[in-house]
């Protein structure tokens, strides 16, 4: 029996993308909530909650891109031209946001400008990521290993809706994170945002699910064919349960609950995406095996990844542990 290396790699990259959504989601969300909190010390606290970890969170995006290139070059070279302008705009948004994050703490007169860059960069990156996911879910036309679709195929009502949906999802995630990491008046006002945000999010998830199932017979078949729905039914039910939990935690309850439930929703939504497309890496036709680099390439990269990935993972876990607990105004030492 030979080992199915492409399957192992699909698992690693799937994990990488998941960690990215999980981790960079909430710090992008802080950029989205920024416009609603304009007092200098509140913004300082909000940024300090992610200062030690934000750039580590983006590690997963770079690693994901590089691994996709080395391991699934066919997916890499068809997906990226298909979502060309959103990818470029997303990268520029992330650049802007990252540099604004760092420079604003060194700026005095121009701090407002950098704050604006931080907000716009976060919003652009998030919206584009949502459009990319939406385009992927809709499927990309590939002929003979090359992208053969429309140049503006990424621009559709569905993809725009997914972009808006991700804005709400990240904002809710960021809100949950901040409720966990802050206290006092700031925390109270954040708590008030949880209910409206999560209600809108639930509606959006519902619409996207229906839209996909109605618009794409293959996805409908995956979810409802045979006994499949019996196995997959927990996914939507758990989403519902999580939203109910967030509602209850908005008034009282442990500060971390909303955040944990929100991360669970991200996990469930991501599972839903995987259920809909697996074993394709670029639906509707490109499977992980057809997208694979030659075995010698996949094994060559696997050796390094197996050694270094656990180090990065444990380092990440440890740095979250070190910086656990509440962040207060006037805490020194983050910038």
């Amino acid at each position: 029996m030979t080992i199915d290396v492409p399957l192992i790699w699909a698992g690693i990259i799937g994990l990488g993308v998941f960690l990215y959504l999980l981790l960079d989601g909430f710090d992008l969300g802080i950029g989205l909530l920024f416009p609603f909190f304009d007092r200098a010390e509140e913004r300082e606290v909000m940024l300090n909650t992610v200062a030690p970890v934000w750039d580590g969170n983006e590690t997963w995006l770079v690693l994901g891109g590089a691994c996709l290139y080395g391991v699934f070059p066919v997916a890499y070279s068809t997906l990226l031209p298909a979502v060309y302008l959103p990818v470029i705009a997303m990268l520029c948004g992330l650049i802007f946001r990252g540099v604004a994050f760092e420079i604003r703490s060194k700026a005095r007169r121009t701090q407002n400008l950098w704050d604006l860059g931080f907000i716009m960069g976060s919003a652009t990156a998030t919206f584009c990521q949502g459009m990319i996911l939406g385009t992927l879910l809709q499927g990309i036309k590939i002929v003979d290993g090359r992208f053969a679709g429309d140049a503006f195929g990424w621009l559709s009502p569905f993809s725009v809706f997914c972009g808006l949906g991700l804005l709400v999802a990240y904002a809710t995630l960021g809100c949950g994170w901040l409720v966990m990491k802050t206290e006092g008046d700031l925390q109270q006002r954040l708590r008030k945002l949880l209910k409206p945000l999560s209600s809108v999010l639930l509606a959006i998830i519902g619409v996207i699910s229906l839209w996909t199932v109605l618009g794409q017979p293959a996805v409908a078949q995956r979810w409802f064919g045979g006994h499949n729905f019996l196995y997959f039914a927990p996914v939507p039910l758990l989403v519902l349960a999580c939203v109910v939990g967030i509602f209850r935690s908005a008034d009282s309850g442990h500060d971390a609950r909303a955040f944990i439930l929100m991360e669970a929703i991200i996990f469930l939504g991501y599972s839903g995406l995987l259920i809909s497309i697996f074993p394709n890496i670029v639906p509707p036709t490109l499977s992980i095996w057809a997208a694979s680099a030659p075995r010698s390439s996949q094994i060559f990269v696997l050796v390094g990844t197996v050694i270094i990935l656990p180090i990065i993972l444990s380092y990440t876990a440890l740095s979250y542990w070190v910086f656990r607990g509440k962040v207060r105004h006037g805490d020194e030492g983050y910038h």
């Binding site: 200062a51 030690p52 934000w54 750039d55 580590g56 590690t59 995006l61 770079v62 690693l63 891109g65 590089a66 691994c67 996709l68 290139y69 080395g70 391991v71 070059p73 890499y76 070279s77 990226l80 031209p81 060309y84 302008l85 990818v87 705009a89 990268l91 520029c92 992330l94 650049i95 802007f96 540099v99 760092e102 420079i103 060194k106 700026a107 005095r108 007169r109 121009t110 290993g145 090359r146 992208f147 053969a148 140049a151 680099a293 030659p294 010698s296 390439s297 060559f300 990269v301 390094g304 180090i311 990065i312 380092y315 440890l318 070190v322 910086f323 020194e332 030492g333 983050y334 910038h335």
Partner: protein
């Protein structure tokens, strides 16, 4: 459907622009990380505070460069797929894994040792700290190793077979240690050292010219001048060897660099200046020296060099570009050599720190390392054309199926964003340099130990420098 020819030109411009903007920062980081390791080593050995102050000062600028390098590098990780889908599809099986190893190396380094180097001064002993600094310096060179393995394989590919129009790797050792790799790795690493040396010399010269002559400023001026004196000639030898290697593997590149059209018998002349015209197939206004071409390129009196006319017109690199980019690089190298030699003369006469014209020269030479580096990369990359993987895949077949509007739009976005963002980064680095290393009592303050918890966990390089940017 391959992309249109306009899209091809725009995609090439875009790659040239984004990678030129990117390479500035890694080159500075590689050079300065190694300079910092030397400074810290000297401090441990001599106990002189001036070395420690210089370490603090230059590690701040290194950190900003490193941060900018990471940010601009993210774009590179996606640009291959977005603009060069044909290249990724055919050769991604080789270039992708090599770049993945670079990313893994860089993250490993950032996670493990950068935090200790930048923020852990009070939390670990001096020897452990020095070890971390050395590992960071080594790590920057390891990153260089992977990037240059990837680029050199595109110049002199080996260790693979083509199956169904795609590259299948057979022997990774052959792929990594391809014929041009050792030469290019050495040439690039020394170039990064020269980038740092010219910047350090320029910075110190600026302060000397303004009448600031603290010990740190004098010491860094002296070290940089000495480094240039030793390194510039070594770089010329390395470049010469690299050239011999190129003549063997990429003769069309050499012919284009020299603006050489005919294969001359009994010894080839060298065009010192001239204007190669690709349509007329000749080099106009050429000023040439008989036999010098053979002497330089083959190390013999009458060695033969194949002219561009021996290659089909569609296989020729653009001679006008590489002729002049090469001469820009060599010109910078000769000026650096002069800078080093004049520094030696002044040093022997004890006038190194109070010769104003020499300081002005050194200040003007501040960006020369970077100019030479970019000119050199333009030479080797444009000289590889019309191939993206030499002899295997043409650049025209490597581009993504995109319209020129799409690529033009993204190029415009990149230009605006890069000028704003990396312009700010460069401005901040210049500002830090203008603030200068601390003088006298200022030096008693030990900076850079912000952050709480375990060393290495406040690892964002950009938060190392705390000087305000707009005051």
């Amino acid at each position: 459907m391959p992309g249109s020819s306009d899209a091809l030109v725009l995609a090439r411009l875009q790659f040239a622009f984004t990678i030129s903007a990117h390479i500035i920062f890694p080159a500075i980081s590689i050079g300065l990380a190694n300079y910092c390791a030397v400074l810290e080593g000297l401090w441990l050995r001599t106990g002189k505070a001036v070395y420690r102050e210089l370490f603090y000062f230059w590690s701040k600028i290194f950190a900003v460069g490193f941060g900018m390098g990471v940010v601009s590098g993210v774009v590179m990780a996606y640009e291959f797929g977005a603009n060069w889908a044909g290249f990724s599809r055919v050769a991604g099986s080789v270039n992708g894994p090599l770049l993945t190893y670079e990313v893994l190396t860089a993250f490993f380094l950032e996670a493990g040792f950068l935090g200790i180097m930048l923020f852990g001064w009070k939390r670990v002993g001096p020897r452990l700290h020095f070890l971390a600094t050395c590992l960071v310096a080594l790590g920057t060179l390891l990153s260089t190793f992977w990037i240059l393995a990837s680029n050199s394989w595109m110049q002199t590919p080996q260790g693979f077979e083509i199956v169904d129009g795609r590259v299948v790797p057979l022997d990774w050792l052959k792929i990594i240690f391809n014929p041009s790799f050792p030469f290019r790795l050495v040439h690039m690493s020394i170039a990064a050292f020269l980038v740092a040396a010219t910047i350090v010399a320029g910075c110190a010269a600026w302060h000397l010219l303004r009448g600031r002559s603290g010990e740190g400023i004098k010491k860094s001026f002296s070290m940089a001048a000495g480094m240039i004196l030793v390194t510039a000639p070594i770089q010329m030898i390395a470049g010469d060897q690299h050239g011999l290697n190129t003549l063997e593997h990429q003769p069309a590149k050499i012919a284009a660099i020299e603006g050489l059209w005919e294969t001359e018998k009994g010894g080839t002349a060298l065009n010192l200046v001239g204007w190669p015209d690709m349509k007329e197939e000749r080099t106009n206004y050429a000023l040439s020296v008989p036999h010098l071409g053979s002497l330089v390129l083959t190390h013999t009196w009458s060695g033969e060099i194949r002219g561009l006319k021996e290659f089909a017109p569609e296989d020729r690199p653009n001679s006008t570009i590489v002729f002049w980019s090469f001469r820009t690089m060599v010109g910078m190298g000769l000026l650096m050599l002069l800078l080093g030699l004049l520094g030696l003369v002044l040093r022997l006469r004890n006038k190194l720190y109070d010769t104003r014209w020499y300081q002005r020269f050194a200040l003007a030479m501040g960006p020369s390392g970077l100019i030479a580096l970019i000119a050199g990369w333009i030479t080797t990359e444009a000289g590889r054309q019309p191939w993206v993987v030499y002899g295997v895949l043409r650049t025209a077949d490597a581009v993504s199926p995109l319209s020129s509007q799409q690529v033009g739009t993204s190029l415009l976005i990149f230009i605006i964003v890069y000028f704003l963002v990396f312009g700010t980064g460069i401005y901040y680095m210049l500002k830090l340099m203008a603030n200068g290393p601390p003088v006298g009592d200022q030096a008693a303050d030990v900076p850079g130990d912000a952050g709480k918890g375990i060393p290495g966990f406040d690892h964002r390089p950009m938060s190392r420098a705390t000087d305000p940017i707009d005051e």
